[in-house]
Assembly symmetry: C2
């Protein structure tokens, strides 16, 4: 925590700006979804902000930064708090800079959208869709996630099967940043320079506006399919993913009992299943009842978002693998509601499972392209019930591959590390979601470029301090 008198002076300097100093209220702004990790939960438990600043515009933002620089108070940027690694949690107190009020969508034109840092992803999408465009990818938190927060703390999501990660060249075309200096400067960074801020947790610059390249809007359909076993569902997904002719936005597979745990499976005990998927959308099996929109107990699930024109081909492949469609709904009709299958994919699968069972946690794995199916089967057999398989398909470096967000039955941090090591030993990459240290997460494009940008935009090293490896090591040495 910063010295009390300095914070008092800082508060005085910020007259007219919305600030929060009440500790209970401020605490909320220093928290994200890092509680998914029992490891981070413990590590970050005592971290708090001295003050939350909520600028309404760039002028107020510049005033906040100038004042923080003057008093040498750390500044930790926050989007909407949907991160999983404590990105908005200040390691050394100071100011949490809430960017949620910079929430305007500036424009959508020529297949590009520009928005303020705190704009909701869903608001950008809702502005783009009437023009025939949509965001290229959405984290499962898109209804509450900010534009710059996704870029600085996210990775990919629904749509990554076409466009890779949000950090891949071409997905974000530019950002407007502000420096943390005596007189903060606003700069436009394009292309490669903009990418230096990707997944950097705001340690190397504060984004005020961000430009996303868009995808043309398809008439997407959401399909939920049941399969007798996990590998049948995987082979189906692999076949669908491998066919260039099936236009898709998302492809998710989960083994039993994950469908039940995350609220889309038939409940083995009465009254436990979510009512999130309306009964009148059951369709396909003709049951017309809610039971028709459930994955039967013990079965694996595949969740697909595909173009309407691809549905026939997908259904044919499903039948060949013993699968059947239990729910079909128009994506546009459920977009931005709890009924979309997006809510059961990516890390929302973890969220819903944690809502039912506090004893689990998760990992993030990347399977080797070309060998993904065999490796998924190998690890599925290896871990048994301790690691429940949840697979998302995505494009990485031009290759279709599987990323895993498996649910892990948590015992100890040591065992969690061992499970990660057993993945690595079998050629499966792990991005560690149980660390707040920037370089240890595994998603930075270039550590040296990231840190060079920090020296340029944050010469005093006040942005989100304590998150880089050198700072962590310095703190350990101290």
């Amino acid at each position: 925590m910063s010295d009390h008198s300095i914070i008092t002076q800082l508060s005085a300097d910020l007259g007219g700006i919305d600030i929060i100093s009440d500790p209970a209220r401020a605490a909320r702004f220093a928290r994200d979804f890092s509680w998914f990790s029992p490891v981070l939960k413990e590590l970050l438990a005592d971290k708090a902000a001295d003050l939350v600043a909520r600028p309404a515009d760039e002028a107020e933002l510049a005033r906040v930064l100038a004042a923080c620089y003057r008093h040498r108070v750390p500044v930790t940027a926050r989007g909407r708090g949907t991160g999983n690694y404590g990105q908005c949690t200040p390691m050394q107190g100071g100011v949490v800079l809430d960017l949620a009020r910079l929430d305007q969508v500036r424009w959508v034109r020529g297949g590009v959208a520009r928005a303020q840092a705190g704009a909701l992803l869903s608001d950008i999408d809702l502005a783009a869709r009437p023009l025939g465009w949509e965001l290229r990818m959405l984290p499962s938190t898109y209804r509450m996630c900010s534009a710059a927060g996704f870029y600085c703390g996210g990775f990919g999501g629904v749509g990554s099967i076409n466009y890779g990660t949000i950090g891949d060249p071409g997905n974000v075309t530019g950002v407007r940043v502000v420096t943390l200096e005596a007189e903060p400067r606003f700069l436009e960074l394009r292309d490669a320079e903009a990418r230096d801020l990707y997944h950097a947790y705001g340690v190397n610059g504060i984004i005020t506006e961000i430009e996303f390249a868009l995808a043309p809007l398809y008439d997407w359909q959401e399909l939920m399919l049941a399969f007798p076993g996990f590998m049948e569902a995987m082979r189906f997904a692999q076949a669908v993913g491998s066919s260039g002719g099936i236009a898709k936005k998302s492809l998710t597979v989960m083994e039993a009992p994950l469908p039940e745990l995350c609220g889309i499976g038939a409940s083995t005990s009465a009254g436990k299943a979510d009512a999130c998927i309306p009964a009148d959308q059951a369709g396909e099996r003709g049951s017309g009842g809610q039971a028709g929109a459930r994955i039967p107990a013990g079965q694996a699930a595949a969740l697909c978002i595909v173009a309407a024109s691809s549905r026939e081909a997908l259904t044919g492949i499903a039948a060949a693998h013993g699968g059947s469609v239990v729910l079909a709904q128009d994506h546009g009709a459920v977009y931005n509601t709890r009924d979309s299958l997006i809510e059961r994919s990516w890390n929302h699968t973890t969220l819903h499972t944690l809502a039912r069972d506090k004893t689990v946690t998760y990992l993030e794995s990347i399977y080797p392209a070309g060998d993904a199916l065999a490796k998924v089967e190998e690890l599925w057999r290896h871990f048994g019930d301790e690691v429940l398989m949840h697979i998302e398909y995505m494009q990485l470096n031009g290759q279709l591959t599987c990323v895993g967000i498996p649910i892990v039955r948590y015992t100890t941090a040591a065992r969690l590390d061992q499970i990660a090591a057993e993945h690595r030993a079998r050629g499966v990459h792990i991005n560690n979601p149980h660390t707040y240290v920037l370089e240890d997460g595994g998603k930075l494009a270039s550590e040296s470029r990231t840190l060079a940008m920090k020296r340029r935009l944050d010469p005093a090293g006040l942005l989100n301090p304590g998150k880089t490896r050198s700072e962590v090591e310095a703190a350990r040495g101290a």
Copy 2:
């Protein structure tokens, strides 16, 4: 050739239908672009049709087929004659069935277009584009190629980097076929059954209508870039292809002197370069003259069609590999004209090169995904000037890879076979374009399904006879 009296009777039965019996005129309809291959040119030199039938509608088509069945006269379907393997050349004479007059685009809706067999691909595209859709892939012949001809004799093209081959599940959703029987029946075949007619040269059924799943229309830009060397251009293309964030429709690389040979390079001797690319589109380098729109002598070329929003990222990657943009033009503005870069890609590169140098031919290769760049370099070094590298990027089985359409300095058929064998020995697949035998070309999805469909739709075995391996072997035995 069929018995003269039978042909006379057949002609009489076809009263009121447009038929061509004059040998010189009929000969035109038995020819395609198989002259690209010196091997096929020789093998097919003496093949001719006895009669060309040009039905105006399905009723006339059924009359032609019923009459041919009655007289047991072979029927070889022809689209627009843009094939490369003698698909429309009758091995045993009989009737060439010209489907060019069945040229209507039936409808475009819900991301799907349906057209008659003989409709020009460009006409389908021109109908789809105002609705925000376009064909998913185009052969370089799209301005003269028929819808069903592309499906029955083609493979992929511009757009295959996103959607794979035209035979991949989901690209063609259905076909309407007519049987060759006493009373021809019209049948709708969907999905997997429709795929049994893919690349089957019309030996197993006559398509009368075909349904293509479409792609959403992007605001594509065509960019032509010059690189100091072939591998610089390849590494650029690999980086662009591997970035999910760069939305692309086409990615072509050719080594020097192919740019000059196919008409986009600066000429080393005056007056040889095409004037196909208008001087006023030179742009970028600011020369404003035609020279600015040429690949400098000795340099490699990359031809790219990318989304406008991806141009900045592409240019950044080009600069990192020593490349520079020598031409930039709006794809929509040059679509369906000779000015589009499509005219210098896929097999049009071969066409333009052959127009200048009759001593060359070509091959079709597929590089192993994941190892493509290294393999391309290995073969480029191995063959030197005998095989000039022309690479197209495409998606195959969910993986980005390179297909080669190299220009080969032709000496003998034996040496051509040896060059193919040297590819295979290095792990590079060859689809043999120097055979008219269906199974030997390498593109059939399933030989047994293809032949089973033939028994169903062509019980008397009259469709395009002499093209299947069993028929070829029977003929050799006779």
